[in-house]
């Protein structure tokens, strides 16, 4: 492997290490209601918002918290759907775009509310600037904030004792937006504008190329949306080509920034958790478990994307490809080397879904890594907030299995894990995986559904599995080449995104409520340490084992079969 590529990977990993902890500490101050450097500016705004909206910072029980989350999101869903359906009557529509087909609009509305940003539509030719800004971008903020809020409720449930108070959703939501999402998004947007990302209300530019072909070049409020797209692990591009489009991601610098923005909050929240539980080592153990797995996935993807494709050796005689060439289809030349595979792993582990290259064109094993990243449950950093609570669910399962082996009723952070807790934990952590399997299986029997894929070959299967996986994982990235915009796929994938987002959320809040009501068992040498390297190791093993056992059969029929055929030469 090229030394430059290795340096590129290491540089990015070091950047993640550098930003995660300070970010986590800052978020702890914000979410625990402590003073921070933004307080002088934001506190008056925050107070004003509460005054206007009538929010009182009073503790909510799990049911009240859950009701707030669901009500807020359902309302958001209705508003977003309405905006799309009426966009032709609304301002900021220089292209005069009409309302999309209702199933597409519904799919898109669910997609943005659930922080998935699965895009069955082509943005340039489907949504107006108004829809982008007032509809989609707003959800980019609040869907991320909703995820953060739920993770905070679970953390509080684990920390507090004998109470029903999990904090207040409206306060958590407001603080997420005011102190974390907005400031970082604004600064990043300015940075992107500097790098050449457009920010305007102009109509599309019509140009004639050197060869004389006519070209329509999209314009719009790209920079402001680009920043939150990454920061909120949303991933819904302003343009169809997403971050592979030069207006969304023009330079190597913007590429690094975008990757870093994606991982910033999910990585930081793990340290925030450590602060909340008054044991930084607890957060550190979880962080390194996730970080090392993340690094291994990157190494795998980078390896396969920078090594020659064995098929080239055979094809060299008939094409201009030499056996030593690395796979380049679906990639911008700007993002050669490590930039594309790193981005692919970053976006799939975090449930972001932005892409700077076409995943469908990657080598089979890279496709495998991308699929597996999502199938693990979006917890290797994971989505904003959702990654944190899913990671905690797996920590609970790990504690349950390992805790028995030390001869005590398993407990995490002093909270005993009884029958009800394990029921909720298992249901919440396995739910999205189950949806991935079920939706892809159902599609097989729906007439015409398979026509969206390449057909009855492993790669065709991978495309279908990817669609079910990406939506249930609330990731939103696509295996290009899959035609998502059909009535059936819009409905079933919409449903998939919806249930896979909110069912686990409600279960997590129930769990948080159960934990909050419990007393805390004091730590002694008889307590299973959950803040050391061994626990981090066990956690990784449990995550890989549960994910592997669940998805290896399916993956064997998709990317693994492709890979084995390609590398063994036996088809």
């Amino acid at each position: 492997m090229d030394i430059k590529v290795i340096a590129e990977v290491l540089f990015f990993l070091v950047l993640v290490l550098l930003v995660a902890k300070p970010m986590g500490n800052f978020m702890y101050l914000v979410f625990d209601g402590k003073r921070n450097f933004l307080s002088p500016v934001m506190e008056p705004v925050e107070k004003f918002i509460y005054k206007v909206s009538g929010v009182k910072d009073s503790g909510q029980g799990w049911a009240e918290y859950a009701l707030s989350v669901i009500a807020f999101n359902i309302l958001g869903l209705i508003v977003l759907f309405a905006i799309m359906m009426f966009q032709q009557f609304l301002p900021l529509n220089p292209q005069g775009l009409k309302a999309p087909e209702w199933r597409l609009a519904l799919n898109t509305a669910i997609s943005f509310v659930t922080n998935t940003n699965w895009q069955a539509y082509t943005p340039e030719s489907t949504v107006s600037y108004f829809t982008q800004m007032v509809g989609l971008a707003v959800q980019n903020f609040v869907s991320a904030a909703s995820g953060i809020a739920v993770s905070l409720a679970l953390i509080r449930g684990l920390v507090r004792k004998q109470t029903r108070d999990l904090g207040n959703f409206w306060v958590d939501l407001t603080r997420s937006c005011l102190y974390v999402l907005l400031p970082i998004a604004i600064i990043s947007a300015l940075f992107l504008v500097w790098q050449g990302v457009p920010q305007n209300f102009s109509g599309y530019t019509h140009a004639v190329t050197v060869e004389g072909a006519k070209q329509v070049i999209g314009q719009g409020t790209v920079a402001s949306q680009e920043a939150i797209k990454e920061l909120g692990t949303n991933g819904g591009g302003f343009f169809n080509a997403n971050s592979a489009h030069p207006y969304e991601n023009p330079t190597p610098l913007s590429n690094i920034l975008e990757m870093l923005l994606i991982i910033l909050i999910p990585a930081g929240l793990i340290f925030t958790f450590g602060k909340f539980v008054h044991d930084i080592k607890q957060g550190r153990a979880l962080f390194y478990a996730v970080f090392i797995t993340f690094a291994i996935f990157i190494a795998g993807a980078v390896y396969y994307e920078t090594a020659p494709n064995p098929a080239f050796a055979k094809g060299a005689a008939v094409t201009n490809i030499s056996a030593k060439d690395i796979p380049s289809e679906g990639k911008e030349t700007r993002f050669f080397g490590g930039a594309s595979p790193i981005f692919s792993v970053v976006t799939t582990v975090t449930s972001c879904g932005a892409v700077n290259n076409m995943h469908d064109s990657n080598m089979p094993m890279t496709g495998f890594i991308e699929l597996f990243d999502m199938q693990l449950g979006e917890l290797i950093f994971g989505g904003v907030g959702s990654g944190m609570y899913t990671l905690l669910l797996f920590a609970l399962i790990t504690v349950f299995l390992a805790g028995l082996m030390i001869g005590r009723t398993p407990e995490y952070l002093g909270k005993k894990i009884g029958p009800t807790e394990i029921k909720l934990t298992a249901a919440a952590s396995l739910f999205s995986g189950i949806m991935m399997l079920v939706v892809s299986a159902i599609a097989v029997y729906v007439p015409g559904a398979a026509a969206s894929t390449m057909g009855s070959v492993p790669h065709g299967f991978s495309q279908m599995l990817y669609a079910a996986t990406s939506t249930a994982g609330n990731n939103g990235s696509a295996f290009a080449g899959f035609n998502a915009n059909t009535g059936f796929w819009n409905l079933i994938l919409g449903l998939n995104m919806f249930v896979a987002r909110f069912v686990p959320m409600i279960l997590v809040l129930m769990l948080a409520g159960r934990f909050a009501a419990k007393n805390v068992t004091p730590v002694s040498v008889g307590t299973l340490p959950t803040n050391d390297a061994l626990f981090a190791f066990m956690l990784v093993m449990v995550i890989l084992l549960v994910g592997g056992l669940t998805f290896l059969p399916a993956l064997s029929m998709g990317p693994i079969a492709d890979h084995m055929a390609l590398f063994s030469g036996i088809r």
Partner: protein
């Protein structure tokens, strides 16, 4: 010696009986209504039906021309998997049943001497089953006690070996903390009158029979939780297998149903699913073997969670009584002189303290017990609460010992002008400061010095407390002593904390306080005033010698009445959980190797390149799948001994324990099946079971 051999033979006989009964029962348990109680094994059971039906169907539809022997082999091994699981449970249960049978024999044909009043000696013979609460019965030497009761009159030595297995007789007497008697035990000497305290069917013996038979065995919370996780995983793997068929359909292919069932069974956590209930039952039996009866499985599990143990000082940490430890003479008196006087003063003293003075004198200076001649005029002066001293008047010489102030006053009555040694006061003070009791000795009007009476730690208690510490369990000593005394003993024994000046109410308050802080508390108690605390504790172990009230309040009963038993109980509780966890980890870790056996075998027909993933180089797809299923089946009986005995447990920190167990059951669980499946594959091919 003879007895031991007989015992061994008995055990052997019992074992073969137990196994025979278990074999029978494991087939009986194949009833669907029994199978459905264990979701993991129920799914295997359904799978066995499916493959068997598939075999019959293919044979029948081709008129017997094609026999799918592969499916037949798989079916046989699936049935065996289910039967092995049932056998594990039946074996665990039958051990308890055998004990129950001997108890039941004991219950039969007891007659009672019923009487009308406790002062009457008149009685009528009635069958024990006709007795009701409150009836009075008489029992003399050789009589069986007809039912659980409370002695209202008399004292007797009772042989309780039938219930406790302890052959030494115990003393039971009216009005004390040892007033209760158990139905089925035998009076050896003396006569007692006792009042029946339980109606037929509710007696201790009945309860015990029920318990060991496992009739009332409820799943413990942790077992329920583990069962939920295992069921969730089973359902997940069911789905994983079931979706394989649609995926194959997408490729315009299909899988053989036998393969799919095999994949599912290999993935499902069958090993732990099969052994789960056996582990729980065996744990209760292990408790029984150390002579502890747990009234609920919940309490056994709680024992594993205990992190605070309350121990009574007297009888648990120290021997029942204080003992002479040192002779401290005043200036001008030799130690031997003091010892001789002390010995004389204690000759009439029959209390353990008194005897210990005699023993100490002999040990230190070889002073033999004095033989009085016929000419000696000996007059013993017994201890009285009033005088607070005791001693001897030998030929007019008064040799006394007693509390310091009483002694000083006493010598003054003998000789008004006697001199009180200057250093006496400081000697007495220093002994008292150490937490020991000073006794002053005098010969006539001369004060000789001080005997230090000290609490003596029970043999081995320090080591046991250290073990508790290693397990992360805090030991708290409860004593009625003053704080000074308590602190010195606490430090000597190595307990983590102590409660001095304790009263029964303070015990209860202390338990509540610990529980509020999130601790799980265990205690042992025997007296009636222990009952509230016993009931409040998470694990309350009542001593068999205790009062009926205490025995009612506890959730465990120690038949040996050994206060340090709590440590063993905690160990058994932990062992059950460790065994469950280790076998679960092992079971899930096994799946990795099974995947490498089955997935390439299933898919290499569809995608030839997949054959490269057959890293064990198993002979053929059918031999790989069969080997995986055979391994999956035989690992169950192979682990039955471990499940019944429990994973070895040594007191150590959780961090060390987890490292060891992860290595053995996690890593071992990954590696072992690779070797096992490969070996079985070689055998399967050699035998021609698959090609």
């Amino acid at each position: 010696m003879d007895n031991k051999q007989e015992n061994k033979q008995d055990k052997k006989q019992m074992n073969s009986l137990v196994i025979r009964e278990a074999l029978l029962n494991c087939l009986m348990k194949l009833k669907p209504s029994d199978m459905v109680k264990n979701p993991v094994m129920f799914c295997v059971y359904i799978g066995a039906f499916l493959t068997t039906a598939y075999f019959v169907y293919t044979a029948a539809s081709t008129g017997g021309k094609t026999m799918d022997f592969f499916t037949l082999h798989i079916s046989v091994w699936l049935w065996l998997t289910v039967i092995f699981s049932n056998f594990a449970e039946a074996l665990a249960e039958s051990r308890g049943k055998a004990t129950a049978d001997t108890l039941k024999k004991m219950k039969k044909d007891i007659f009672a001497k019923k009487t009308e009043s406790k002062d009457s000696t008149q009685f009528t013979m009635v069958p024990a089953s006709s007795l009701r609460k409150g009836d009075l019965c008489i029992a003399g030497p050789g009589d069986l006690i007809a039912g659980d009761g409370e002695i209202v009159k008399g004292i007797a030595s009772v042989d309780e070996s039938a219930v406790t297995g302890e052959s030494a007789p115990v003393i039971r007497e009216a009005g004390a903390d040892r007033s209760s008697v158990i139905g089925g035990t035998r009076v050896l000497s003396d006569m007692i009158v006792y009042a029946i305290t339980s109606n037929p069917g509710e007696s201790f013996l009945d309860k015990m029979i029920e318990l060991v038979e496992g009739a009332v065995r409820k799943k413990t919370p942790n077992e329920v939780a583990l069962n939920i996780l295992l069921t969730a995983l089973t359902l997940l793997f069911l789905l994983v297998t079931a979706t394989m068929q649609p995926y194959a359909t997408f490729m315009k292919q299909s899988f053989n149903i036998t393969w799919l069932v095999a994949l599912f069974v290999a993935l499902a956590p069958t090993t732990i699913g099969a052994l789960l209930s056996a582990i729980g039952i065996a744990g209760m039996n292990r408790l029984l073997r150390i002579n502890v009866l747990a009234f609920s499985g919940r309490s056994v599990e709680a024992a594993g969670d205990v992190d605070t143990v309350l121990l009574d000082k007297t009888g648990t940490i120290t021997l029942g009584n204080r003992q002479a430890d040192k002779f401290l003479p005043v200036k001008g008196v030799t130690e031997e002189e003091l010892a001789l006087a002390a010995q004389f003063s204690s000759l009439s003293d029959d209390t353990p303290e008194g005897r210990s003075v005699v023993v100490l004198a002999k040990r230190r200076f070889n002073i033999r017990q004095h033989e009085f001649g016929a000419a000696d005029k000996v007059n013993f002066i017994p201890f009285s609460a009033n005088s607070r001293m005791s001693g001897i008047d030998m030929n007019g010489e008064k040799i006394m010992k007693g509390a310091a102030e009483s002694m000083v006053e006493f010598v003054k009555t003998l000789d008004k002008n006697c001199v009180i040694p200057e250093d006496l006061h400081s000697l007495v003070e220093s002994v008292a400061l150490k937490g020991s009791t000073p006794l002053v000795v005098s010969r006539n009007a001369k004060l000789l010095g001080v005997i230090e009476l000290k609490d003596i730690l029970k043999g081995g208690i320090k080591e046991r407390l250290l073990q508790l510490n290693l397990m992360g369990i805090k030991s708290v000593m409860i004593t009625g002593d003053n704080p000074v005394t308590a602190a010195s003993i606490a430090a000597e024994a190595g307990v983590n904390d102590f409660l001095s000046n304790a009263k029964p109410e303070t015990k209860l308050a202390l338990i509540k306080k610990y529980q509020d802080e999130g601790h799980m508390v265990a205690m042992i108690g025997d007296g009636t005033n222990d009952a509230p605390a016993l009931a409040q504790a998470d694990v309350g172990i009542a001593m068999n010698t205790g009062t009926a009230a205490a025995r009612e309040a506890g959730n465990m009963l120690d038949l040996d009445s050994n206060p340090t038993k709590v440590i063993e109980v905690v160990e058994v509780g932990k062992q059950i959980l460790i065994t469950r966890g280790s076998l679960t980890t092992f079971s899930i870790a096994n799946d990795v190797a099974k995947y490498f056996a089955i997935i390439p075998a299933m898919l290499s027909g569809m995608f030839p390149g997949m054959a490269a993933l057959n890293i064990m180089r198993l002979a053929s797809p059918s031999s790989s799948i069969l080997s995986a299923i055979i391994f999956n089946a035989i690992v169950i009986p192979a682990l039955i001994p471990l499940a019944l005995r429990g994973v070895p447990y040594k007191a150590q920190s959780a961090a060390k324990l987890i490292r060891t167990n992860i290595l053995i059951y996690g890593l071992g669980g990954v590696i072992l099946p690779f070797i096992g499946i490969k070996l079985i594959d070689m055998i399967v091919v050699a035998l021609g079971l698959a090609h």
